[in-house]
Amino acid sequence: MSYPPAAPAPPTRRALLRGALGLGTAAALSACGGGSTTLRTSGDVTLGLWTHDPGYETFFEKGIPDADRTGDFRYHLKVTRAGAPDIVTKLLAQAVAGRGTPDLVGFEIGSFPRMLRGDIAERLLHDFTPDIEAVPGLKEDLLPARTAPFSRDGRVYAFDSDTPMVVYFHRRDLFEKYGLPESMATWEEFAEAGARVHRDHGASMCVVSTVGSDPGQVVQSFQMLLYQRGGAFFDADGALVLDSPEAEEVLRFLCEGLRSGFVVEVSDYYGAGMQTALKAGRVIGLPMAIWYKNYGLVTNVPEQKGRWRVRALPRFAGGGGVTAALGGTGFGVVEDKANTRAATEFLFRTWLTHEGQVRRFTETGYLPTRRSVYEDARLGAYEDDFCGGQRLFGLYRSLLPDVPPFHQSPDQSILYDVLGGNLLRAYHGDLSPRQALKQTAADFRDQAGR
């Protein structure tokens, strides 16, 4: 006689709990894993893109068909948007955690120096230098002035979104009304005429920001003219070179302009104060990067469409060029990931192609970073409605050779903090330009390299 096999006993509650705990732990541990780093070389790929600007998101989304057509990958994007400084903080946190880093990251130029501290950039970002050399003619075509901010020790870690040339925006109608000739070629002539305009009409022809809560903006006002004059904050090795005769000349020029009324203080280039000054005709011209047209003028005074014009900066009698550069956002690729190659190719097939750079200008207003693109007939024919139909690319082409490189240092935020404060003291007459620069250099030395 045989017995049927005994039915297995139902699991006890404790056994079930143990099983659930085991499964949960296994799931948690697998989730903590860093994910596969086997390099993908073709096929479907979803790139994690981090950016602070929705404009870039749209640009890259629209670039997918081009990238798919010309390469071995079929791209999808998973976009995360965050504040510019937060992107670096989050990137480093994820890198320490060993997971969750993006493939493609947009670094606002002011946040990138954090990546230059220690060996962060070297460990975390893909070095594009061999990729650039692999594309015939690309190295010579890329503007060195715009690879400099995102480079270190000859390695390029990000590609800039713009060649943000500094130009002189001015109200043509009011220039004519106040008898200001187009032929004024130097800042010194501008300052003389500006003092008269302020005396007679209460208007100013130059602006400095004095918003105490934003040292970066305070520094920008000075930075534009300093770099135009031939000065700089840091050299290519990251050493401070601020304390120079050029810097003193520029700071003295601004301080004297503030006394005469040629220069006016505004609390914020983008805020209510500036808007009122523009609307009331108290600011009739200012030096600023070309992107200011979209972010400052069009947004604050759309009704003044057609009255504004763009020209080259007047020269300083003592020397220097006719433009500078201000701002920018560099896109980099995170190194040692499965998607590193895919992300690099994506960047090269969207961001750096001739068509991509033309499209970037038409969609976002940012100027090409490749020299040859400036010769494109479509860009040459472009007329700017806000500037009364002015054809601006001829001007941009002529400024191109004068765009100075902007070298960054890991200690840049220290410089901005100390320089911002000392610039305000100089503007208010508490320090002479010489003292302000000496003090800045001393304060910087005290704090840098800690």
Binding site: V96, R114, R117, D119, I120, T210, S213, D417, G420, G421
Partner: protein, 313 residues
Amino acid sequence: MTTTVAGPPGAARARSAPKEEERRPRRSWAPYLFISPFYLLYALFMLVPVGVSVWLSLTEWVGLGAPRWVGLRNYRLLATDISFHRALGNTAVFVLVAVCLVVPLALLIAQALNTRGLRVRDLWRTAYFVPIVVSPILVALVFGLVFDRQFGLANAVLRALFGSGGVDWLGDPDLARVSIALVMLWRWTGYLTVFFLAGLQNVPRELYEAAALDGAGRLRTFTTVTLPALKPVTAFVVVTSFICAAQIFEEPYLLTGGGPAESTLSVTMFIYRAAFQRQQFGYAAAAAVVLFVLVFGISRLVNRLLGIGRAAS
């Protein structure tokens, strides 16, 4: 004759040992298990971070890779860092504002709210309490508009009253500190008022009646009845205000960014700046340790001075 063989010494005790063991309460791990979650969490979220901070303060770390041991170098650098000294000075000013202005004002408001016959008392209480629950971002936005040099409410009022109002509230180093102090006053006073109000409601009415029978006036009653009765509450409020003010971050960060020229930079902002703007985590940790030691030491001193935790004799 009976021979008694003496056993080895202690044998009798050995025989009676089981009985003693039965009488002795059995060692049990249960109570330790019950209280262990607190200690585990305390160790995990308090001791470990503090220990790691102290260790980090002895290293140089950019936020990625391995920290490099530098011993006391960060502390030596802090001792000569003008920026850190400035932050300590500014923080001391904010602490003085909190302890010497906010606390007395909160007490006065509480006294006023405790007045008998006050109408819509709850409305007043709520009104004073609201600022502390308003988002700091909103506070910064509103006060940014109030203190705007060209179009701010403060200058508009000055213009209306005195004919001129070009005061650079946030752009002048001294006035920026005053602006932060005003925001602290607005934001914190109502919150502390609630503590004083609770204390005032617990003062026995008989004491006031006795003082009245003795002919004490309002001021005399306040100084001889109210203040002594409020001593424990005052001590608590002073210490917590001190600790909060010593770690002030939101107001200066959102309103002035620590500027102009670091005139409103607090120690916590200094730490944040070193860590998250300059990637100097070791240096930031050293500053944090210094702040911790200062806050802990001074709090203990204040505790002792005010007799917190000591039984009333």
